[in-house]
């Protein structure tokens, strides 16, 4: 048995900090939103990625967005976002529309044969295309200090697959 949210009568003090705004929709099935009022957050920026250099027009691109060196360098899975996107053309473009100001870096690979991994050869060297922001990574996995870029406004980043 677990008691959630212990509180004394009416939990008023807690509620003060958690004031809810409500967004209302249809009457029959009113759409609920517990969201606080969406603040007009000037520190939220759009990052558009344009991935180029696909050698094959099929398969899936796996992309990760990081916001700090530790996670990026260790590739520990603690990315801000991951995207898997089918490839049907020569380029791929997506946008993250609500990123905070900061330093970001991107790693990605193209799973051309849809086996859900970056194929590597006997020596562990990628045999499918990959890439990093700033197009670094020529000498092995790129580190954050090389791959990172500053986001302090809307920005488009082009990455050429290796």
């Amino acid at each position: 048995m677990k008691i959630t949210k212990p509180c004394n009568p009416f939990r008023k003090s807690m509620l003060t900090a958690l004031t809810l705004g409500s967004v209302l929709a249809s009457t029959l099935y009113p759409t609920l939103s517990f969201a606080r009022q969406v603040q007009t957050n000037e520190s939220q920026h759009q990052l558009t990625l344009l991935i180029k250099g696909y050698e094959q027009k099929q398969g899936v691109t796996y992309l990760s967005l990081y916001d700090n060196a530790e996670d990026f360098n260790s590739m520990n899975g603690k990315s801000i976002a991951n995207v898997q996107h089918q490839i049907q053309g020569d380029t791929l473009s997506i946008s993250f529309n609500q990123l905070s100001k900061g330093e970001y870096a991107i790693s990605l690979y193209h799973d051309a044969n849809n086996n859900r991994k970056l194929d590597r050869n006997l020596l562990g060297i990628p045999s499918e295309q990959y890439g990093f922001s700033n197009d670094v990574g020529a000498f092995g996995p790129a580190k954050f200090d090389k791959a990172s870029f500053k986001l302090d406004g809307d920005k488009t980043v082009v990455i050429n697959l290796r």
């Binding site: 939990r11 409500s22 517990f34």
Partner: protein, 490 residues
């Protein structure tokens, strides 16, 4: 995947509790007429400070403890009134007995619903037939959980119970709310009925009835004496019938899956339909492994509450306040001219019936009491013994449906009965067997004197109901009407 919203559109289904609804009319006014109902629930306080009651009669000195009761108290916010008693937010009332005094205090249950609505200063969710403007879709089973049906002590913990969502733990002393109870990670927000039953070994059993999205499954909870989850299992049901409570015998968890069937609909009122040509199923679950031991079909009926069940040799006895259809729920609990609140509405009467089932061949016979007795109660310490039940209601032979109820005792085998009538102007609430320190058994219940707009307690010597109360206690004001509760000796 079933769906929460659909469920929540209908979750108020479980708050019905028979004739008690009528007493709800007396919440804050003396009027009992439907026509006056609209203005009857304003200005209910969110708490009652601890105050001594005025004593009458002879209060036994060996009687010490607390009578806890849960009431659907808050029916109005910011100009909007729920049109159904069961939509009121739960309030825990506590009567403290001892030292020759009786105190009363009460406090709203601080559910998530209540807190959110306090904050919004309006009702946010659809109730049972009540649709506040700009209602939110419920997020989960607890979004609109008012925790307003019962209050029970299990182990050293006190719980405010609803039936379609979680229990809330309450401080037994000051009645403040500790919070919502999760029995397990995968049990969050699941139904947990207001009528847990105590096994002979001290364990607690309860059910949670899930009948939505085409999934009819009853969750069986087994808790130890300290209210720690021992076992849980979801049992598939043959039909999505309404179940408010259940029964327990030596060997079985007994589900009575009524013929009031749920079909996914857009509005609650359209969701349930009583299948008069269908069946009710009595499902016997073996306590050992919660497998279905036997399923016995009986003619379509409707039930909220059970007396105790017991096995004698190969026979199983189950008593229940049985309705011949679900009108009590689909119409009787509404507040229109055809509701159970209307005068002369005897068509909603229940019948305290005893089913006697042969466990070998599943054959059964039924014994009707001719008593429209509801809120049946028995002695929890000896759950599987033959014993008289107490409840409130009236003999169905009483042609003149008055606005008051009788206190009733009934023996399920002998049919012996005992009745006490307070007379017009009183509303009595759920009676309980309680014991004094000396071992003397009493029957206690709260009541309202509508004429004088005051609430109080009445105490009877068990087995001597006809003699009338041996003691009473009166407040100077009328409290919200309560549904179910418990007595905790001290």
């Amino acid at each position: 995947m079933s769906n929460r919203r659909e469920f929540l559109q209908t979750l108020v289904a479980g708050t019905a509790c028979g004739l008690a609804a009528k007493s709800g009319l007396s919440l804050a006014s003396g009027s009992a007429m439907p026509a006056d109902f609209g203005g009857a629930f304003k200005s209910v306080p969110k708490s009652f400070e601890k105050r001594a009651l005025t004593l009458e009669g002879n209060w036994p000195t060996d009687l010490r403890g607390s009578l806890y009761r849960n009431s659907p108290a808050m029916l109005e916010r910011n100009g909007f009134q729920h049109s159904h008693l069961f939509d009121g937010d739960g309030m825990i009332q506590k009567f403290s007995l001892g030292d020759g005094k009786v105190f009363h205090q009460a406090q709203m249950v601080a559910t998530d619903k209540f807190l959110n609505e306090e904050d919004a200063d309006r009702f946010l969710y659809h109730g049972l037939g009540s649709s506040p403007p700009n209602a939110r879709a419920a997020r989960n089973n607890d979004s609109a959980n008012p925790a307003n049906i019962s209050v029970r002590k299990m182990g050293d913990k006190l719980f405010a119970l609803w039936e379609a969502g979680s229990a809330y733990e309450i401080d037994p002393e000051n009645l403040s709310t500790y919070g919502r109870v999760d029995w397990g990670e995968d049990l969050k927000h699941l139904p947990f009925s207001a009528h847990p039953l105590r096994d002979a070994n001290g364990d607690w059993w309860n059910i949670g009835s899930w009948i939505y999205s085409g999934q009819a499954r009853t969750i069986i909870y087994q808790l130890d004496a300290q209210a720690k989850l021992k076992r849980v299992k979801a049992i598939p049901m043959n039909q999505a019938g309404y179940m408010h409570a259940f029964a327990l015998s030596q060997r079985f968890v007994i589900l009575v899956n009524t013929a009031h069937l749920y079909t996914p609909g857009k509005r609650y009122f359209d969701s349930f339909n009583f299948d008069a040509k269908g069946k009710t199923e009595i499902v016997l679950l073996d306590k050992n492994d919660l497998s279905v031991f036997k399923t016995i079909e009986i003619p379509a009926n409707f039930v909220f509450h059970f007396g105790n069940a017991f096995e004698q040799g190969e026979e199983l006895f189950i008593s229940m306040a049985e309705y011949r259809n679900a009108d009590i729920m689909s119409k009787g609990l509404g507040l229109g001219p055809h509701s159970a609140f209307a005068k002369e509405a005897t068509q909603y009467n229940s019948d305290l019936s005893v089913y006697r089932i042969n466990l070998k061949n599943g054959k059964w016979q039924k014994q009707s009491s001719q008593l429209a007795m509801e809120f049946p109660n028995f002695r929890e310490s000896t759950p599987f013994t033959v014993q008289n039940l107490i409840g409130m209601g009236r003999p169905t032979g009483t042609a003149n449906k008055a606005d008051q109820d009788y206190l009733i005792s009934y023996h399920p085998l002998s049919g012996e009965r005992e009745i006490y009538d307070f007379g017009n102007g009183f509303t009595i609430e759920e009676p309980l067997f309680i014991n004094g320190a000396s071992g003397q058994e009493y029957v206690i219940h709260s009541l309202a004197d509508r004429q004088k707009s005051r609430s109080g307690l009445a105490l009877f010597r068990s087995g001597e109901l006809k003699a009338g109360p041996i003691a009473m206690a009166w407040a100077e004001e009328q409290f919200p009407f309560g549904f179910h509760g418990c007595f905790v000796p001290s």
